[in-house]
């Protein structure tokens, strides 16, 4: 029994998922259900001069057609919930349906509600809209230049904010340093591509005034909060349910205009309305990730010691400031420029720029992969310039373990860490020395073999609420749990977080099973429904286990303490004389006195004989607000062979050694790493959202956006070290994003290493065959 915590048991959510019996949002069927479809702008930036919906309204099966005029005064706008301080953030209005102007290709112009999916789709073609096209610019650096088209009248120059952070004196250090390197890095737009598209089913009862909204959400409580603003409906009239959610990767954090429009329709019509996006709609309208143009520099000494890093970053916001958009290139990016290293001098400047592209928000890792990528690319570039081995440079600059907790130059305090062993383990697993020998030999034969290292830290387990407030995040970052014990000793746990594939129905049951000494089968984890679960802030930022899991543990401990009181009473003993056997309270050293958890559950719930002052029932709640973020870390190493003729990159091996503290369920942790790594490899090698000059998304379907396939991806070898975090009672650090943080850097470092004999120092990801070939051609031309 004592080993359930830390055991790789099978997931408890799986039986319904592998048999088709799970309910995702689009599976929700209701009597009288109508279907909605959006008419979306074909232009990136245009003035709307006419909308005529009369033909659509007259079409078969059409129930209603709404445009901005119908919403006027009845709804709010789409809020931005992250306003970093001291950066003069400008948040222009984001209407639910576009009124005067459209600002990206996909901006919603009208909503059709009809009796069937097909009729709604048919009617879209009957809406007549005249547009007066205006200039487009999707590149954030170009959009920030004078003369670029202006997308919002109240944001002249398109600069939404200029934010900086740092510490020490980077300017002076760069003067003084012996070795200096710089790179221009483009962190391309990515399409999150949860395989389940977004969907919303709104059902408004005019009699009760209650809106029930099933929505593909990572955070139903945030959705309730933001929908109340968009719909001007008080929160207690809104029930948000995130049923089964088919992946999010950040893209299901934001509140979108779509669920507000669908809810508005239901409120107007008094009948349920369903909308589910197509994939091509998803690619246009669901948030995108990354989108930075970065000028970055690193400096240090000839002995390999890194002393400074500085940057100027143009971070695309897209057409509007999405829910968490402005916080990602700032707080979640700039604050982690120190990486795993002691770098005394740091200066970061980030310009958040409005463009005519789809809004940018959190995509797996959100800001931290961008930081890890630029830091790790710089470390390799610096090591080469200093004539040092990249592994040795990392070792030399790691923050030593005895320094934790450690405050880095950007001002954040790392909770715990021991970075050297993870690097050593990864190098041993991949046989670093052996590979270097093999590489040297291959080079004599004209073959391009390379090895890439990425060492990372990330800031996650978001986070203390006080810090959330200080950094302008418009929400709390605690989480919550109610542990309710039924008379027969079975348990339901209601949690504020909202897992959607991460397996917390299993891991949290393991936490509770460990506390109570009962089988996991006797425990059920309930999530995703604002009506039944306590206020929480959702599943993102690798926070669910660190924050909500801690709340679960604390609530369970409170239950256990109450059970102890009752046991002491029943045994006529002092509480201090009792001991927990693992499954029961008993008088110390007297096994015959054991009161099992089940006995005490019954006693508490029937309340026939309770101690004075003890209330009936056996349940407890807890709100856990951590004292700090957690900082998982690790090192990934990969080896590649580059085909010098075709530019194709073949990953030979990929090794990930991560430290996310103790593993509650090691199999689940490993699965999180696998998926994260492959997303990072996709980013490194093949994923990119491409727009044309007029702002049309060219990679608008899966025919052109290269989601990694099984046949393209390597096996991922994993190992780990364990360094507990002191900031939560489980000691855990979060593993959901870990795999993605540094994997793109490891792969690109490997390819650049392979091509180093040609003098290649950098290639922007994704390293498609065409790009790699072009880089080789340019290098060969340059050498001539």
């Amino acid at each position: 029994m004592a080993t359930i915590f830390g055991s790789g048991i099978r997931r408890r959510e799986d039986p319904r998922l592998i048999t088709g019996l799970a309910t995702y949002t689009d599976d929700v069927a209701l009597p009288g259900l109508a279907y909605a479809a959006f008419l979306r702008s074909p232009y990136a930036h245009a003035r709307i001069t006419k909308i005529d919906t009369s033909a659509a309204k007259a079409a078969p099966g059409v129930v209603a057609v709404y445009t901005a005029a119908d919403l006027e005064g009845k709804t709010g706008t789409v809020p931005c919930a992250w306003n970093p301080p001291n950066c003069d953030l400008k948040v222009p209005a984001h209407p639910i349906l576009a009124s005067d102007k459209v600002r990206y290709a996909g901006d919603a112009v009208a909503l059709v509600v009809a009796e069937t999916r097909a009729q709604a789709r048919d009617a879209i073609d009957l809406i007549d809209v005249d547009y007066d096209p205006l200039g487009a610019e999707v590149d954030p650096e170009k959009a920030a230049q004078p003369g670029a088209p202006v997308f919002h009248d109240d944001v002249p120059g398109n600069i939404g904010f200029t934010w900086s952070c740092g510490g020490g004196d980077a300017a002076a250090e760069f003067e003084r340093a012996e070795v200096k390197v710089k790179l221009r890095i483009v962190q391309q737009r990515l399409l999150p591509t949860a395989i389940e598209p977004r969907s919303a089913v709104a059902s408004y009862n005019k009699g009760t005034g209650q809106l029930q909204l099933w929505v593909t959400s990572q955070n139903p409580h945030i959705h309730r909060f933001l929908c109340s603003l968009m719909l001007k409906l008080p929160e207690h009239r809104i029930r948000v349910v995130a049923p089964e959610v088919g992946g999010g990767f950040g893209s299901k954090i934001p509140a979108y205009p779509d669920e507000a429009a669908v809810s508005f329709a239901s409120m107007q019509l008094g009948r349920p309305v369903k909308w589910t996006e197509d994939r091509s709609e998803n690619y246009k309208c669901t948030i995108h990730g990354r989108d930075h143009v970065e000028y970055v520099e690193m400096c240090g000494m000839k002995d390999g010691r890194i002393t400074g890093i500085r940057s100027t970053v143009y971070a695309g916001l897209g057409a509007y400031a999405s829910t968490a958009g402005p916080g990602i290139p700032t707080i979640l990016h700039g604050l982690v420029y120190s990486g795993a290293y002691e770098i005394p001098h740091i200066a970061v400047t980030v310009h958040g720029v409005y463009t005519s592209g789809t809004p940018i928000d959190a995509y797996r890792g959100a800001g931290r992969p961008e930081a890890a990528y630029l830091v790790e690319r710089l470390v390799d570039t610096f090591a080469r310039a200093a004539g040092k081995d990249p592994a040795a440079v990392r070792h030399l600059n790691f923050i030593p373990k005895e320094k934790f907790p450690h405050t880095v130059a950007t001002g954040v305090t790392y909770d715990s860490g021991d970075y050297g062993p993870a690097l050593d383990k990864a190098l041993a697993l991949i046989d670093y020395e052996g590979f270097r020998r093999r590489q040297a030999e291959a080079r004599t034969q004209g073959k391009y073999l390379g090895i890439g290292i990425g060492s990372y830290i990330e800031i996650c387990g978001l986070g203390p609420s006080q810090v959330a407030g200080a950094v302008g995040f418009g929400a709390g970052l605690y989480d919550s749990a109610i542990v309710r014990v039924y008379p027969t000793g079975v348990v339901r746990v209601y949690i504020g977080a909202s897992p959607h594939g991460q397996g917390e129905e299993t891991t949290f049951a393991q936490v509770v099973a460990q506390e109570f000494g009962i089988p996991v089968e006797n425990i059920e984890i309930v999530h995703g429904d604002t009506e039944t679960t306590p206020q929480g802030w959702g599943t993102y930022g690798s926070r669910t286990t660190a924050v909500c899991g801690s709340a679960v543990k604390i609530a369970a401990q409170r239950v256990k303490e109450k059970a102890r009181k009752i046991a002491a009473h029943l045994l006529e003993a002092s509480e201090d004389d009792l001991e927990w056997t693992g499954t029961a309270w008993q008088v110390k050293g007297v096994p015959g006195t054991a009161k099992s958890f089940g006995d005490l559950a019954l006693a508490a719930n029937v309340a026939w004989n309770l101690p004075a002052g003890v209330e009936p029932g056996l349940e407890a709640n807890a709100f856990f607000d951590p004292s700090n973020f957690v900082y998982p870390f690790g090192t990934h190493v990969c080896t590649v062979e580059v085909d010098g003729e075709t530019g194709e990159v073949h990953i030979e091996r990929y090794v990930a050694v991560d430290d996310c503290g103790p593993h509650i369920n090691p199999v689940i942790v490993q699965g999180q790493i696998h998926g994260g790594v492959i997303q990072g490899i996709g980013e490194a090698l093949q994923e990119i959202a491409v727009y044309d000059d007029s702002g049309q998304l060219l990679s608008g379907t899966m025919m052109d956006y290269a989601v990694p396939k099984a046949s393209q991806m390597p096996h991922v070898e994993t190992d780990y070290t364990v360094t507990p975090s002191p900031v939560n009672p489980l000691g855990v650090k979060g593993c959901g994003e870990a795999g993605t943080i540094v994997s793109a850097a490891a792969v690109v470092n490997a390819v650049v290493d392979a091509l180093a004999p040609l003098g290649i120092t950098h290639i922007d990801k994704p390293l498609t065959p065409a790009r790699v070939w072009a880089a080789i051609q340019a290098a060969k031309g340059g050498a001539r």
């Binding site: 048919d122 091509s280 090698l685 990679s699 065959p769 070939w773 072009a774």
Partner: protein, 284 residues
Amino acid sequence: MIPATFEYIRAGSLAQALALLGSHEDAKVIAGGHSLLPVMKFRMAQPGTLIDIARVPELHGIDRHQGDLRIGAATTYRALLQSRLVSEGFPLLHECVEDIGDVQVRNRGTLGGSLAHCDPNSDLPAVMLVLGAKMVCVSAKGTRTVPAAQFFTSAFSSALQDGELLQEIHLPPLPAGAGTCYHTVAQAASGYAMAGAAVVVTKAGGKVTSAKVALTSSGDIGRVVDTSAFVGSDGGDAALAALGAAASALTDATGDLHAPADYRRHLMGVVTRRAAATALSRAK
């Protein structure tokens, strides 16, 4: 994603299919539907009528016929892959089909459907060209046989006339001892070739005695490389390089977001050279 409305008629026989084709002007023929339905879902194609020929018995079957291999146009890729007549007699076709689309596409997609679609980025036209395939086209007036070289007229346009269907594909036997290879480098998303080459070669006494080379994604459908200099050579590095250069020279595809024009041209040379080298190594 829902297509616009249309009328649907399933043909039970070849005669019925041809009659329907004659009487429905805005009709499109559907077999597996894996080229047509995706564009219909995006409403880029809105035919008034679909004539389903998937179950027309005369369009199925793989057998030997007058020395050729005869393949019914509605034969699925899956059936091709499972046919020993194909894998043993035409390993080139097997090799090509193995990588078309994915399992699900191969289970539904048909040889004739793909060929009639004439997508210049499709793998099969090049293979048909080097195999010297003959296309049997049928209409109410009867049948005619069109060599592959004349069948693929231009991108998305075949020699099929109004009221005509592709009924069978006939493949003459490979020359004795021939080595074959189909080699592509695919774009990562769709799996379509950025460049591809199909090769059939024979050799004797250290010399190349015959060679046929055709290209995929070269800019137009049905491009065949002039192999006159390659034939008679030793098939060594220099000869292969020259063959690759000829393939590059023949490639004028415009760039797209996966393969800029210069890269595609270069890549065509590489895949052609590699395909030819592999084919030579397989020749006996």
